[in-house]
């Protein structure tokens, strides 16, 4: 470890003489800065000379602090000369002497009220832009679908199958597990609370209707938004970052047709199938709980279920699934395409994609509830 840096006065009048010693380096920069500030405060406006020959180590940090001292004294009208600087440090001092530093103008403090208003305004505009981006993506997908329907051979079948495997087949185990547990939990809660009114038999009605109409499709959609929507956004976003999408465009290929369409198509198929599997698994879970916790034998459970539900309930759930998938796919792809150059932006857009698609799924579910109620389904 090298010696501490020092700077002390060796002679006073008529010309101030200072001697520097020790290590003027990065690791001592903090003490050195304080030391130089102290000395500078004590110095008058006269001429001063700094003897550097005892300095043991010297780097850009030391050189800059020396240069800063010289500049500050010059600004106050004092002349400073550097003497006996070892030959091999001369270049460094010269380099620092030429350094042009410009302090960026200080940002004036804004009125917090104005800033709050500004933030609100910006958020509103952002929401508007988001809606536009989503509408734009939906339109682009529509147009691309039209083009592909005209020339079916241009559809990227291999890519669609690949994505179908990823978002569909590979999601089956986790979807089955989660919906199985949810079905079980609903049944358990039903038995626990309905028992107080002696209405245990109606647990099956609740379970069947709730799962087929709402829970099955909702849970699966939310899972898929978190699992596949986020990966779509991240994939497309990093392709955007690495100019892959620009490359596609310059080759005369439409990124929507090549990248988005197979993904959204796969998502629509996968989500519909997963909703079916998920609903079945939830009913199975509910049935098992009814048997072991509620003491209802499987035969009775199935008989009750047959009475309680109709094909309508099943249809309501299944009709919703492709729309949910479309919403998730459109949001995920729109967010992916709006990724900017940085890693941070990729993270932000992926988060936004999941949050917005889950929000949209729930809003859509509400709209469907109103719609089905008004057509008596």
């Amino acid at each position: 470890m090298s010696a501490k840096p020092t700077l002390y006065a060796t002679a006073g009048a008529p010309e101030l003489e200072l001697a520097a010693a020790g290590a003027w380096t990065a690791s001592h920069a903090n003490e050195l800065e304080a030391l130089i500030d102290d000395v500078a405060a004590d110095l008058g406006h006269g001429t001063a000379s700094i003897d550097m020959h005892k300095v043991e180590a010297f780097d850009t940090y030391g050189a800059w602090l020396l240069e800063r001292l010289v500049r500050e004294r010059k600004a106050l009208g004092g002349d400073t000369t550097i003497v006996a600087l070892p030959e091999h440090y001369r270049d460094l001092v010269t380099a620092m002497h030429g350094a042009i530093l410009e302090h960026p103008p200080k940002v004036a403090h804004e009125n917090p009220l104005i800033r709050a208003v500004e933030t609100t305004g910006k958020t509103v505009i952002d929401v508007g832009n988001d809606l536009l981006a989503i509408a734009n993506m939906l339109g682009a997908i529509g147009a691309a679908t039209g083009r592909v329907l005209m020339r079916p051979r241009t559809f990227r079948f291999t890519s669609a199958v690949h994505h179908l495997d990823r978002v569909g087949l590979q999601a089956v185990p986790i979807i089955l597990l989660i919906t199985f547990l949810i079905g079980g939990i609903i049944a358990q809660q039903g038995f626990f609370h309905f028992r107080k009114f002696g209405a245990e038999t109606y647990v099956v009605d609740m379970l069947g209707i709730l799962i087929l109409r709402e829970i099955g499709v909702l849970i699966v959609s939310i899972m898929v938004a978190g699992r596949s929507g986020s990966s779509y956004t991240a994939e497309l976003g990093s392709m955007k970052m690495r100019e892959e999408i620009d490359a596609l465009r310059t080759m005369g290929l439409d990124p929507i047709e090549v990248l988005v369409l197979p993904r959204v198509f796969a998502l629509i198929l996968a989500l519909t199938m997963l909703t079916f599997l998920g609903s079945m698994s939830a009913l199975y879970g509910g049935g098992l709980v009814a048997w072991f916790y509620g003491g209802m034998s499987p035969d009775i459970f199935i008989a009750r279920l047959k009475e309680a539900i109709s094909i309508t309930h099943f249809k309501v759930g299944m009709i919703k699934a492709p729309f949910m998938a479309l919403a998730i796919g459109v949001v995920a792809c729109a967010q992916g395409f709006s990724v900017k150059g940085s890693a941070e932006s990729l993270g932000l857009q992926t988060t936004a994609s999941v949050v917005k698609s889950i929000f949209l799924v729930i809003v859509l579910d509400g709209l469907f509830a109103v719609f089905f109620a008004s057509i008596d389904m």
Binding site: A26, A29, D59, T60, Y61, W64, A95, A99, E102, H103
Partner: protein
């Protein structure tokens, strides 16, 4: 004065799976020189660099950098050595969510205790040294051109006043004028800051103009090392092809003319 050795690599063996990329490679880089390292694409130059800086484990051999034996160093010794070198990655590897200035300040914040003012000034001084003006200091890496990214990456590599700098293809992807400027910059900084430079390059002009010594990697071995004269005299076919090819010939004649 005995010559100090900055990097000493002995009998280094590196491989992936059943493929051996580096087979008993030995390299010595002297203190205060610019050492250029060449080799065909895929010959393992970057692998050697990444092994020296500890990103890839070695199978056998020893690596000694700045007097520390990195093959047997503990975590702390390794850290303190890492603090004494700077690395310029091939693609710059700037942190994409930080501005230019913050990128240069990042290692300073990690390793040094500096006042806010000095932190700002030192980062500005480093950027000024590599030739970047105030108009670019608050930009994000995605807003910079290739040449500017290399300059910022160099400023970041130099942030802690390292004794040793590793450059991975510093001039690749730059136009000849920018590449020439960048070579000049490396030479000037090396002289002013008295650093050792280990440089991987494909740029013949860099090899001729800035490198003190050159090492050639072919077939997993160092087949030649020495100043440019030794390269031209080498018998190895790859070295012959590289330094006596058409492009090299034109360059050699052009560079030889002013002295003749």
């Amino acid at each position: 004065m005995t010559e100090k050795i900055a990097i000493r690599v002995r009998d280094l063996v590196v491989g992936f799976g059943d493929r051996t990329v580096l087979d008993r490679v030995s390299v010595e880089v002297k203190h205060g020189e610019i050492f250029g390292f060449v080799g065909g694409s895929g010959s393992g130059k970057s692998v050697l660099l990444r092994t020296i800086i500890g990103l890839i484990p070695a199978r056998a051999g020893s690596i000694e950098v700045l007097g520390t034996d990195l093959t047997h160093a503990d975590e702390e010794e390794r850290r303190s050595t890492e603090r004494r070198w700077g690395i310029l990655f091939q693609q710059g590897a700037l942190f994409s969510s930080l501005t230019v200035l913050q990128n240069v300040q990042f290692p300073m914040r990690q390793y040094l205790k500096l006042s806010k003012r000095l932190l700002q000034e030192m980062a500005e001084a480093k950027l000024d040294m590599v030739g970047l003006g105030p108009q670019d200091w608050n930009k994000l890496p995605s807003e910079l051109s290739g040449g500017m990214i290399k300059r910022v990456a160099l400023a970041r590599a130099l942030a802690l006043d390292p004794e040793l700098v590793f450059l991975d293809e510093p001039t690749s992807g730059l136009d000849p004028i920018s590449a020439g400027d960048f070579d000049e910059l490396i030479r000037t900084l090396q002289r002013t800051l008295e650093i050792t430079v280990f440089m991987i390059t494909h740029d013949l002009e860099s090899l001729y103009t800035v490198c003190d010594r050159i090492g050639v990697l072919a077939d997993g071995k160092v087949v030649a090392s020495g100043p440019i004269g030794a390269m031209l005299a080498s018998e190895h076919p790859w070295v012959q092809a590289y330094f006596k090819g058409k492009r090299a010939d034109v360059l050699a004649r052009r560079l030889a003319q002013p002295q003749a």
